[in-house]
């Protein structure tokens, strides 16, 4: 039996917020090229897990390996440079910039001209801009955003903003993409479109970690699901396994009292 190719390994991490145990000895491994979902009721520690993976704050204990490299003491921007992209639960798009510019910011990781060159607008900057623009166009097309490319994000419908956020994260050319509630607040049709988008992203070879509440979406597209409750993992498996797991049912519907 060959060991599966794990892109992300989480070994027994815990996170303590001033006495509040948000995550307790959580471990899971994410296989490359799959959609891996984390579910659980409100306050179960899902977003905390994402923030730990992206080094927004350090774990109290335990370690996280990305492609075999430890993420300990990395700054969030360094994690991004390593190839981990993410979106946010309450979307964090740059409202006052256009869709295109939002995505162009994502291309930051693939360019390197500094202040001086940019002030002068040297030919190298010009070349770099051209590459960024091409890249951006490709990403926009991929996510069907090209018709809205020059509109300001702040004025766009919520669903589109969510897509912009994903497009931006894709622009950093991530190997691993963390989506925090991508369909919260979307209507049914938008949700279906989003499901298609996520699958399309996976098909390009990007591993996706999905945190969601929408069970139809989760059950429909996940390759593997981990269920958290009170910061602990209570189950892991395929959609079928999870749906029939009594512990999961309890966690969601509430325990018998």
């Amino acid at each position: 039996m060959s060991r599966p190719n794990y892109i992300l390994e989480i070994n027994s991490i815990s996170k303590n917020f001033g006495g509040l145990q948000a995550i307790t000895r959580l471990s899971f491994n994410v296989e490359e090229g799959l959609i891996f979902s984390i579910i659980g009721p409100n306050g179960a520690g899902k977003t905390t897990a994402i923030n730990l993976i992206t080094s927004m704050y350090p774990p109290t204990s335990g370690e996280i390996l990305f492609e075999g490299q430890k993420l300990f003491r990395k700054k969030p921007y360094q994690v991004a440079l390593m190839g981990i992209g993410r979106t946010f639960q309450n979307i964090q798009v740059f409202q006052k910039m256009s869709v295109r510019e939002n995505v162009m910011v994502g291309c930051h990781t693939q360019s390197d001209s500094g202040f001086l060159r940019c002030l002068m607008h040297t030919p190298s900057v010009w070349k770099e801009e051209k590459v960024i623009r091409q890249k951006t166009d490709a990403v926009l097309k991929f996510l069907d955003l090209d018709s809205k490319a020059d509109m300001l994000v702040g004025g766009l419908p919520y669903g589109v903003q969510k897509r912009v956020e994903i497009a931006r994260a894709l622009a950093i050319e991530p190997k691993l993409l963390l989506l925090d509630e991508p369909v919260a607040g979307l209507n049914l049709q938008e949700t279906e479109e989003m499901a298609g988008t996520i699958l399309k992203i996976r098909d390009t070879g990007i591993t996706v970690i999905l945190v969601e509440h929408d069970m139809n979406l989760i059950m429909g597209i996940s390759n593997r699901i981990t269920v958290l409750d009170y910061g602990k993992k209570i189950a892991e498996g395929s959609a079928k396994e999870i749906q029939n797991n009594p512990k999961v049912i309890d966690a969601y519907l509430g325990k018998e009292l």
């Binding site: 919520y158 979406l217 059950m219 079928k240 519907l253």
Partner: protein, 239 residues
């Protein structure tokens, strides 16, 4: 008592509610259940006047309160215990409770308020031991009790409880659920928003199930408890 008719609302740019109607009878416990982002909290905030509906009306005993300011709605006796407790952290437990009675300030209520204070300490004996502590130093369960206690200090006609069990250990949750039952016996009308559907349905008289800002199911609690669709709503159909 409270009639909500066809309200729609936006919350932070998202259409959170789509033409929701619901009726709340005097003295009952009505449960609102549904997943994250279904719009439950939005309904409570609409009733409390924190956000304004774009469509529809909210009538309290025949009076349209849709345009009232939050403080005015509190004056009318509709009191919300918000999700995440929203305690005044640096203030002491006692001060939190006193502010709960803010709507009844004035000399003539002094006696009644101190009676209520005693009563709440009876309901939540653990708070009595913590009166001088800062609210932020309490444990999660105690904080939740304090939040409810603070709401009760206002002598609500209608108590809006938002996720009282959130993040609580099962034992504490059970305690809070039983206290909610006791409150109903004392005649308080309660609108309960809960994720723990099973627990909510056990104590509620009726319930509405919301999904993505729309009303999905409604009926008596007993019926819903047996409903297969409800399970689906929570865990998806796996298609």
């Amino acid at each position: 008592m409270l009639v909500i008719d066809g309200i729609s609302a936006y919350y932070g740019g998202v259409r959170a509610l789509d033409k929701i109607s619901l009726v709340l009878e005097e003295g009952e416990i009505l449960a609102l259940i549904g997943g994250n982002g279904a719009g439950k909290t939005t309904i409570l905030n609409l009733i409390s006047g924190i956000i304004k509906p774009t469509h529809g009306t909210i009538m309290l005993r025949g009076e349209d309160i849709g345009s009232f300011s939050p403080e005015r709605i509190v004056e009318l006796g509709i009191i919300q215990v918000p999700e995440g407790r929203h305690l005044f952290g640096p203030l002491t437990v006692q001060e939190n409770l006193e502010i709960g009675a803010y709507r009844r300030r004035g000399r003539q209520n002094k006696k009644k308020i101190s009676d209520d204070f005693e009563h709440i300490l009876q309901l939540f004996p653990v708070l009595g031991k913590r009166l001088k502590q800062r609210a932020e130093t309490l444990s999660g369960g105690e904080q939740q009790m304090l939040a409810i206690g603070r709401g009760l200090m206002g002598r609500p006609l209608l108590l809006l409880l938002d996720e009282p069990s959130l993040g609580l250990a099962p034992l504490v949750m059970q305690e809070i659920i039983s206290i909610i039952g006791r409150l109903r016996q004392e005649g308080t009308t309660i609108l309960l928003v809960e994720q723990n559907a099973r627990a909510a349905l056990k104590i509620a008289d009726r319930a509405y199930v919301l999904e993505a800002g729309k009303m999905r199911l409604q009926g008596s609690a007993a019926d819903l408890l047996e409903n297969v669709e409800l399970k689906k709503a929570y865990l998806g159909n796996g298609s």
